[in-house]
């Protein structure tokens, strides 16, 4: 009986298994079919979006051609037409981008439905290329190639895509650029050897054109540089359309930790003021900045290259705070508002106006307001020499109570000449490698109250050396730059105000100020958004270290001091 019970149980078990397992198999097979169906649907949707994106991009290219034609006539009416065409082009490019974004999402979901299928990975690469996210596109295409993805109808399409992505994401002089060219040559060679080139290598013409353009890039860059050298102020026409940005302005946060061994600029050998425990302190400097540059151009018969000269408006706001851990009474906050406009008179000369207002708080109380207006004549002799002749009107106002007699508020006038010389340039893209700068200025003031009038002579010398700059978008380190500068100031006060202890004679004060600064910055992490908003190296992150040594000598002993200041900072652009 027991046996038969077990036998029955076994039969039942077997019966259940016989019924259930095939059912499970059917379920698995059905589920696989459903996944395959969803995969096919996702791929189809993605591909149609990508095709639509290509069509939009084609239409945008036609608008670009239209804009180039309009640029050839240089009258006022054509400027209005040009603006309209450029707006249409921008709209089409934004639409192309949106479609490529959608395509990417479909291909990503296709990959989750069939993770073993490299086709979805390859198409993600194509969508990323359309989004100009070349570094991620290269990764995807390489992954697909590693997984041996191959379309039997177009066997070399990954070769073409990888070659195009490498060449598109790098510049001449970069190993990736050369690697990209090799892939294109390989694709072209395979196509030439194929009896069915038109069907199996549909991008043969494009590959040839891109390869030839890559070979011609050094000559193209040289031509562009020679135009810039002849006419530094000429503007490209049409003006390049700026790409998508995260925000309608550039912003950054900078945070530094530093050490200042003489925060209160205590004179040499002098005693600490009462209530001041020390003169040195660790400090934190934090800066928040906002800004936007607006580029524009105007037609000019003086330009032989494009017929257009460039202008620009610049707006910036900075908020900076220094917090001294050991000397809280020296804490300071600074608000800076700056607006600037520059315009080109000729291909080599232009004007510049910069206006700024700065509000300084010391220990949270308003201390000073400084208004500065700079008027400058800017001479760009060529792409390596630049001179600025400036006049500054500076108005300083104390925001603390002063009596009329001792009111130091007033105007300061400054005449300045700056000379910038690019001594050495990069052999491929002609960007500055070694730059020398010299600046001379003369200042005099007109204070409101009984004067502590002074005259100042100032000399600044600076060397800036770019040790490294990336030649492709995918390198993490974008650039490494070092600089060294020295500032000399000589101040002569007009009125005798101090009594010499020995002789009892009244003397006028005179100071000699000297400041040495060494700095290094490392720009990192390329981002298209940063490039589009105008960050020079297109970097998200920047590490800056700086050391500064200051010495002031004076015939008034109490005013002569030394100071060492060091800080290390991290700047985040967004």
């Amino acid at each position: 009986m027991a046996l038969s019970y077990f036998a029955v149980r076994n039969v039942q078990r077997t019966f259940v298994c016989v019924l259930f397992l095939p059912g499970l198999g059917v379920q698995i097979a059905t589920s696989e079919l459903a996944d395959k169906g969803s995969y096919a649907k996702a791929m189809s949707e993605g591909q149609s979006r990508l095709e639509a994106s290509y069509r939009k991009a084609d239409s945008a290219d036609k608008k670009a051609d239209q804009a180039t034609e309009i640029c050839k006539s240089k009258d006022r009416a054509s400027e209005i037409e040009l603006r309209r065409v450029n707006e249409e082009q921008k709209k089409l490019r934004d639409e192309a981008r949106a479609l490529a974004d959608e395509a990417l999402e479909y291909f990503r979901s296709a990959e989750t439905l069939d993770p073993d299928n490299a086709e979805a990975v390859f198409f993600q690469g194509l969508a990323l290329m359309q989004l100009q996210n070349y570094c991620s596109a290269i990764n995807k295409i390489q992954l697909a190639r590693k997984a041996l993805y191959r379309n039997p109808k177009e066997p070399a399409e990954t070769t073409f895509a990888l070659g195009a992505a490498l060449v598109g994401s790098s510049n001449v002089g970069s190993p990736k650029f050369e690697e990209g060219k090799k892939f294109l040559v390989d694709y072209i060679a395979q196509a030439d050897g194929s009896p069915n080139r038109n069907k199996m290598f549909p991008n043969y013409d494009k590959a040839t054109q891109i390869y030839k353009a890559a070979v011609a890039q050094p000559a193209d860059l040289l031509t562009k540089y020679q135009e810039k050298n002849r006419e530094p102020n000429h503007a490209a026409c049409p003006l390049p359309i700026s790409g998508k940005t995260e925000l309608p302005f550039a912003a950054f946060i900078l945070s530094a930790i530093g050490y200042n061994d003489n925060v209160i600029t205590l004179g040499r050998g002098q005693s600490l003021p009462p209530g001041t425990p020390q003169k040195a302190s660790l400090y934190n400097e934090s800066t928040f900045g906002l800004g936007r540059d607006f580029s524009s151009s105007h037609s000019s018969s003086l330009s032989d290259t494009t017929g257009w000269l460039s202008d620009g408006l610049s707006l910036k706001y900075l908020f900076t705070s220094d917090t001294f851990f050991d000397l809280p009474d020296s804490d300071r906050l600074l608000h800076t508002f700056v607006g600037g406009y520059q315009w080109a008179f000729t291909p080599n000369a232009g004007g510049l106006i910069n206006v700024s207002d700065q509000l300084l708080y010391i220990t949270k109380s308003p201390a000073s307001n400084i208004f500065t207006a700079q008027h400058a004549l800017v001479l760009d002799f060529n792409a390596r020499w630049k001179s600025l002749l400036s006049y500054y009107l500076i108005r300083t106002d104390s925001l603390t109570q002063v009596t009329p007699l001792d009111n130091p508020d007033g105007f300061t006038h400054r005449i300045e000449m700056a000379q910038i010389w690019v001594v050495r340039q990069d052999q491929w893209d002609f960007s500055p490698i070694l730059t020398l700068t010299g600046q001379y200025a003369h200042e005099w003031d007109q204070p409101t109250g009984v004067a502590g009038q002074f005259q100042r002579e100032e000399l600044l010398g600076k060397i800036e050396y770019k040790l490294f700059h990336a030649r492709d978008r995918c390198s993490f380190i974008r650039s490494v730059t070092t600089s060294a500068s020295e500032l000399w100031q000589t101040d002569r006060y007009s009125h005798a105000a101090f009594t010499l202890p020995d002789s009892g004679n009244l003397v006028t004060r005179s100071d000699s100020f000297n400041q040495l600064v060494f700095a290094m910055s490392i720009a990192m992490w390329y981002d298209d958004y940063m490039q589009n908003i105008g960050v020079p190296d297109g970097n998200r992150l920047e590490a800056i270290v700086q050391y500064q040594y200051t010495t002031r000598d004076s015939n008034i002993e109490a005013d002569a001091y030394n100071q060492n200041r060091f800080f290390a900072s991290l700047k985040l652009n967004f």
Binding site: M129, Q130, N203, A213, D322, L360, S368, T372, S390
Partner: protein, 175 residues
Amino acid sequence: MRTFYAVATATIAVPLLAVAQEAARDITREMGADTATSVSQGLDRTGLHRNTERVRRGQHAPSLLEAPQGETSNVKKLSKSQRRQLQRERDLLLKDRTAAMDAAATATGASNRANRVYSTSEQRTEDVAAARKNAKREWDAKWGQQLQSIDRAITQGSEGGKRARFHAPSLINPK
């Protein structure tokens, strides 16, 4: 005497306060925000001196895919008169083709009537369409290449040295 002392005190005090104003400018320089100079000391970490301190550098080399510098075509841009001439030739050829197709359609109708072939209106429409199609095919065989080369000349000539545009590899049908 009082006035003298007041002036003397002020004369001593004012340089100190004036220095305090200079200290304000020194502080702004230390904080990387000196706007009363064209050139920054050290590195321009706040970007305030970008417009004054930097020489306009050469254009950032554009990606070859975004602004490709394709080989300049050997085809020269057509002048207006050249384009008009080509357009006229094209119109003449198209007129000739239409005439050939119309003639074939008319001949089909006449032939049907002559042969007294009974046909419905649908059949007659089909016959005419087929005749037009055949006539077009025959015409294309003789003159099609000429029409195509004129089309190509018009297109390429209007593009002149048009630069290459990138197209990603053509898409395959999903599995």
